[in-house]
Amino acid sequence: MNILDRELRPWLHGVISVLLGFCVLWAMITFPELHNTFVDGVNNILYYPEKPAIELRDIVKYSSNWVLERSSLRERVTKLELQNRAMSEELQKAGIKVPVPKEGNVTAKITLRYPDDWWQGFRIDKGSSDGIKEGAAVTSEGFLIGRVIRVDRNYSWVQMITSSSFLIAAAVDETRDLGVINGDDRGNLTLLYVPEERKLKNGMGVSTSLMGRHVPPGIPIGRVIGAKESKDGFLPISIQAGAHLTQLYSVEVYSGGDKIE
């Protein structure tokens, strides 16, 4: 009777549930694959109940931004058209044949970005059925912001350039110095392995270097904003990301590159 009475004490169940919660937390941190399975399962189940909210959100967001976006996009299109025309003229003068673009970008919306994993990654609403491939470059406003690391049929996960496990070959536009871009999980970027005798100036651009079939070279990443303390003959360079990494709502995923191996 005493045991039964004890079993009916809410505080005891509270203690057990708190301990169980921490056990779950430990298990999920220890076995990330299990965590991913559960996250994907829950997200798949909630896909349909959440669909009206996503649609409603898009309607509100796009209708409120429509006028502003339209005028800024028109300006941008005009500018790009002029640049494109000038470049075509120069190429024609030089006798270089302009290749027809065979690849494109897939525009995707961000459907999940964990506050506690803010600088590491996010989920987008496009997957393998939309032509997304693992390793593909992800850009925003023309700047590299990450790479696809996991692809499902209808959604994908993106690892951001600010993640400490993100490494990508990059080159300084003005000097062609090569290095590796790495994040620190706190929103900062560093260009590693630049010899310390190289004098890089603030404001110099940094772009991707050829590293894989899904990350084309020449995608802008950001600008040099300073140098850190020299280490082992190399000078880590602080980079400011070109994209607004705290204000990401939709991104472009590079869908080309299949023919280059």
Binding site: L8, R9, P10, W11, H13, G14, V15, S17, V18, L20, G21, F22, C23, V24, L25, W26, M28, H35, F38, V39, G41, V42, N43, L46, P49, E50, P52, A53, I54, L56, R57, I110, T111, L112, R113, Y114, P115, D116, D117, W118, W119, Q120, D185, R186, G187, T246, Y249
Partner: protein
């Protein structure tokens, strides 16, 4: 139980709608606290509500927090602690004012625990935290009023 599922889905719906702007207050926890502290609620039902808090929190974690088990532990712990505290004070003290105090304390603890584990820049996180608590104020008033009406009927 149907109310709990409905409120959980409503909270999720609102969070999807407001994603990127602010974080929705823990409406599910507020409902659980209200249901568990009503005069007519027996211990057996409180235990069910504690585990409902755990289950709802766990699914929320898998959907939104990336720390699976944290919201589950927080929700269940807070409901259990509220029940424990509620029955530790004399019956005359179990008023709507005390219920409101428990509600505010619980959502502040829950909100602060999440805030402490975010890696977003402190200014952004702080703004999100304050907006979340600010949005919780009308909900606290609504839940307190409901509690007042329902408990009055039960007395």
């Amino acid at each position: 139980m149907i109310y709990l599922i409905a409120i959980w889905l409503l909270q999720d719906f609102v969070q999807v709608f407001l994603m990127g702007f602010f974080i929705v207050p823990n409406i599910y926890l507020m409902l659980l606290l209200m249901m568990s502290l009503l005069p007519a609620t027996r211990k057996e039902k409180q235990i069910i509500l504690i585990w409902a808090a755990f289950a709802g929190g766990l699914i929320w974690d898998f959907r939104w927090t990336n720390l699976p088990g944290m919201t589950a532990a927080l929700n269940a712990g807070l409901v259990a602690a509220a029940c424990f505290l509620w029955y530790k004070i004399p019956a005359q003290g179990r008023t709507v004012v005390f219920f409101t105090f428990i509600l505010i304390a619980s959502i502040l603890i829950s909100g602060f625990a999440h805030f402490a584990l975010w890696t977003v820049p402190s200014q952004v996180a702080l703004r999100q935290f304050f907006v979340q608590q600010f949005l919780g104020v009308p909900l606290v008033i609504v839940f307190s009023l409901i509690y007042w009406k329902v408990s009055d009927r039960n007395v």
